[in-house]
């Protein structure tokens, strides 16, 4: 089990930019996840009975079926489970950034999170490469959790 982590700097990677991509907002089930991201914390649910981590929005632990859980801060470290490079223009807002990468990162705690990878050219993305969270404040209200390559050693 990872130890508790302190505050992480909230990176404003592109702080003064005009951010034109869709900006998600919290719903009831994900409110602590979004609030955590604003403070530079990656928050997951941890089952009160068996201790397994899960993504927000799942009311019941898939292992022990307990509905009791608490919010816990994840390490922000993980590996790139898989990724793709989108070329199709399905959404007008993405037209200018296409082709862009989208990714599924497997967190050290187990769950896999939808995100994208920054600070890395698309050609250099590799399955299972170590990554770490970057907290990107895209609006007053919302900070998105992206990931970047993590040096290991």
């Amino acid at each position: 089990m990872p130890e508790e982590h302190g505050w992480t700097e909230v990176a404003t990677l592109v702080s003064d930019r005009d951010y034109d991509l869709p900006i998600p907002v919290a719903d009831e089930a994900s409110e602590p996840f979004y609030a955590g991201a604003k403070e530079g914390r990656l928050m997951l649910l941890r089952c009160s009975q068996c201790g397994r981590y899960r993504l927000p929005g799942r009311g019941r632990c898939v292992d022990c079926w307990s509905e009791q859980s608490e919010w816990a801060q994840a390490s922000g470290r993980g590996k790139l489970y898989s990724f793709g490079i989108m070329h199709q223009k399905y959404h007008p807002a993405f037209a200018e950034v296409t082709p862009y990468n989208y990714a599924l990162v497997e967190l050290e705690e187990g769950p896999r999170l939808i995100t994208n990878i920054v600070d890395c050219p698309n050609e250099e993305l590799r399955t299972d490469m170590p990554v770490e969270a970057v907290f990107d404040a895209v609006s007053e209200e919302t900070t998105l959790i992206r990931f970047r390559p993590r040096a290991t050693g």
Binding site: L21, P22, I23, P24, V25, A26, D27, A29, S30, F33, Y53, R54, L55, P56, G57, V62, Y81, S82, F83, G84, I85, M86, H87, Q88, Y90, H91, F94, V97, P99, Y100, Y102, A103, L104, E106, G110, P111, R112, L113, I114, T115, N116, N122, R126, T127, D128, L144
Partner: protein, 407 residues
């Protein structure tokens, strides 16, 4: 030998079901950019053709299972279709949806019903009409995952631009490439092989020759998927009739016996240690289907494998055990799936080059091959035909083992 589940001290492998049910009729409408008709019209037309093919009367039909495509049919559970066709003595009726696994799964439930006296002749139908004149095929399927105001964890798909089924399958294929060194040349070999078959199928939508260079030149949709890695979009309808073996004797068409059937739904825990992207439900599905049929992998003469993407074929071949896990790429690279190859697969061109009728595409071609009615594309040996279905993002798998022989 597949393991045999035990129940009350008795081995259960379904072997008493082998050959009890048959596919007695097949109806295929025109496929592709056929405009001016609703999904309901295509369904009714496919049913009419299937009944005619089987040499049955509409009053013989006492079961109806409906798989609706992207254009839903009106009414609940296929009742509108029933009333349009005046099917007035149904003992069995339902609408089902397990994505591309539905067609095969409908046949399985129909086979159980006719084997145990619940019905005599069960119609299973799929129809769809998502194509509109002047609109690309992608418009029918591409937009999934978009929310006007993205919210919650679901909103992350929109925030990070992960739209549609293409994005999800691209990630699955990418994972396989990263794990095992699979390449686009490997995926391309599947696309080229199936195009070779499509050239011999009058119903196929894409019949002009394709080379590996053509494959690489096709535009990226979502890397690592090229356009030619992705299935077509089609308007059309397919129906099959499942009958008891006794009820189908001395009919118009040679019966196609259902030797084995199974399903595999492993679920997706979306966490470390779980890899549905490269390990599908096929092994679970195969186990019961093969034990019921009493066959091993080497007994299979012809494959009709669900091919929403080239990658789906590759991972399915691995998961059935045609080759070891991770070796699907080198396995297909020599062209063995194509015309003249040692493992004829998707002999109508599949959904990549033939037509996209979800699970009905492999099923219909499986019936044609088992009957020996494939014309120029007929496999010389067709005693054992494997048909697979796949639904969702590799979430659902089903298997049918078909044969022209009762046992």
């Amino acid at each position: 030998m597949a393991s045999r589940a035990r129940h009350g001290g008795q081995a259960i492998d379904g072997r008493d079901l082998k050959g009890k049910a048959v596919i007695s009729g097949l109806g295929l409408t025109e496929m592709g950019r056929i405009y001016g008709h609703s999904g309901g019209w295509f369904a009714a037309e496919a049913i009419r053709l299937a009944i005619d093919d089987a040499g049955l009367e509409k009053t013989d039909i006492d079961g109806l299972l409906v798989n609706q495509g992207m254009t839903p049919l009106p009414g609940m559970g296929g009742v509108d279709l029933q009333n349009q066709l005046g099917l007035t003595n149904l003992r069995l009726l339902s609408s089902m949806n397990v994505g591309g696994a539905t067609a095969g799964i409908m046949v399985q439930y129909a086979a159980l019903a006719v084997s145990h006296g619940m019905a005599n002749h069960v119609l299973c139908v799929f129809a769809d009409a998502p194509l509109r004149e002047g609109r690309g095929g992608g418009a029918a399927y591409g937009g999934g995952g978009q929310q006007p105001q993205p919210r919650g964890m679901r909103g992350l798909y929109t925030a990070f631009g992960m739209f549609g089924v293409n994005a999800r399958y691209a990630m699955a294929a990418s994972r396989h490439m990263g794990m095992y060194g699979t390449t686009n040349d490997h995926f391309g070999a599947i696309a080229v092989a199936q195009r070779g078959w499509a050239a011999m199928n009058p119903l196929a939508q894409q019949r002009e020759a394709m080379t590996l260079e053509d494959y690489h030149a096709s535009r990226w949709v979502a890397e690592p998927l090229h356009l030619f890695d992705c299935c077509l979009v089609s308007n059309g309808g397919v129906a099959v009739i499942v009958s008891s073996a006794e009820g189908a004797r001395d009919r118009k068409q040679p019966p196609v016996y259902i030797w084995g059937m199974g399903q595999g739904h492993p679920g997706d825990l979306n966490r470390a240690g779980w890899d549905i992207e490269t390990q599908t439900g096929a092994p679970l599905s195969k186990e019961r289907a093969f034990s019921m049929a009493g066959i091993e992998i080497d007994d299979i003469d012809v494959c009709q494998l669900y091919d929403c993407y080239t990658y789906t074929v590759l991972v399915t071949l691995e998961d059935y055990g045609f080759c070891a896990k991770g070796e699907g790429g080198p396995f297909v690279a020599d062209g063995k799936l194509g015309p003249g190859g040692s493992l004829p697969t998707n002999t109508g061109g599949g959904q990549l080059s033939g037509y996209y009728m979800w699970g009905m595409t492999p099923l219909a071609e499986g019936v044609i091959q088992a009957r020996g009615q494939g014309g120029d594309r007929q496999a010389s040996k067709h005693d054992v035909v494997l048909v697979s279905g796949n639904g969702g993002i590799l979430d659902h798998h089903c298997t049918l083992v078909l044969s022209p022989h009762p046992a």
